[in-house]
Symmetry: C2
Subunit: 203 residues, 2 copies
Amino acid sequence: MGIAERKSRERAEREYRIVAAARVIAEREGWDAVTIRRLAEEIEYSQPVLYSHFENRDAIVAAVAVEGFQEITAALREAASGSSGPRNALENVAMAYLAFALSRPALYAAMFILPTDLRFAEAGTRPELRAAFEALAAVVTPFCVDVAVVTETFWAALHGLAELERSGRIRPSMRGERITLVVRAIVLSGSSSPARGSHHSVE
Amino acid sequence: MGIAERKSRERAEREYRIVAAARVIAEREGWDAVTIRRLAEEIEYSQPVLYSHFENRDAIVAAVAVEGFQEITAALREAASGSSGPRNALENVAMAYLAFALSRPALYAAMFILPTDLRFAEAGTRPELRAAFEALAAVVTPFCVDVAVVTETFWAALHGLAELERSGRIRPSMRGERITLVVRAIVLSGSSSPARGSHHSVE
DNA sequence: CTTGACAATCTAGCAACGATAGATTAGTAA
DNA sequence: TTACTAATCTATCGTTGCTAGATTGTCAAG
């Protein structure tokens, strides 16, 4: 019976429209403007319908965040793939990260600022989050022994740079210099590891 | 006439009680619990009185944030002062920053997460914010030529570490290792500056 | 001591929010 | 056609930030 299938397909499509509408409104007018009533109006259904898709408003934000993690993963991989060497990959990924965060502030906010119960360094972490972490780890790996710790620190630096720049607390004009600093720090970070090859002097 | 003085003193004291109550409630139950009605009840006045002190709720958050900047400045200076050398100062300050952020999450949120119109790298920046920046710059100075850029990057790294750890996205157990990484990066950052002394090799 | 004016404060209420209970409609199976 | 179930809506609750307008308190002038 294709009827049930059609229904579930329509339902999935409606859910997608909710998330898409949330994202568009958030990016245009900020997350405060994303209200249940507004979304209901947007998809031309009554408010309670939204609660048959999402437990509450935060769950809608979380759905947008998951989209964001998928997209940043793709953006970081793309940035890494078109690079001339490990160091250049690091640079490109860092620039891509900041470009992503600052060109889609609402999306980035859903991923990192707004309250959702998406966790990370735990069991039960959503695969989308792990994938983003792995995309960062990939370009860090050539330069260090303890990949996990260095990746965490790299991520934190990028997140801090994005956040402080977005909130107007550091000078946008100096973004390039700061990235250079972070990249060089990671390149040099391998230089005092006890067991190492010569990979950190590539390029 | 001391009457007007007494009145303005009482007024100032009432304003202080508002900010203090906001801070206590925020730290105990989160910022969502800090409502105008709740604060009014706390200081035993009606809601409109609060609007004779602050333009809106965000202004109350901002007032808490300013307190936070004063306190973090003191904490960072204190951490730096009890150090055995430039490198140790860097370490101590980094640890103190994270300890501050993670032990008073609501206060830190007011300073960096919640929407306020406190700006930074601009004219009209509040002196409290500049002072905090200077406290970071002080320990960074021995290791670099362009102090401003390195301080911005240092700050961003610390902020990212604090934020990702607070939101459960990086492993709390590895905090020490990450700090070590950041500190070493800054120490080494001076090593390729064109004009330099030997200060970066100080223990 | 009374009166008038001004400032301080309160009561009452608005519009908008997230969320839900219960009525109503639509769709399916007997 | 009828009975049942699922989908959807209307209407409402309690709470929020914020404000208009009434009310109280304070103090100087007469």
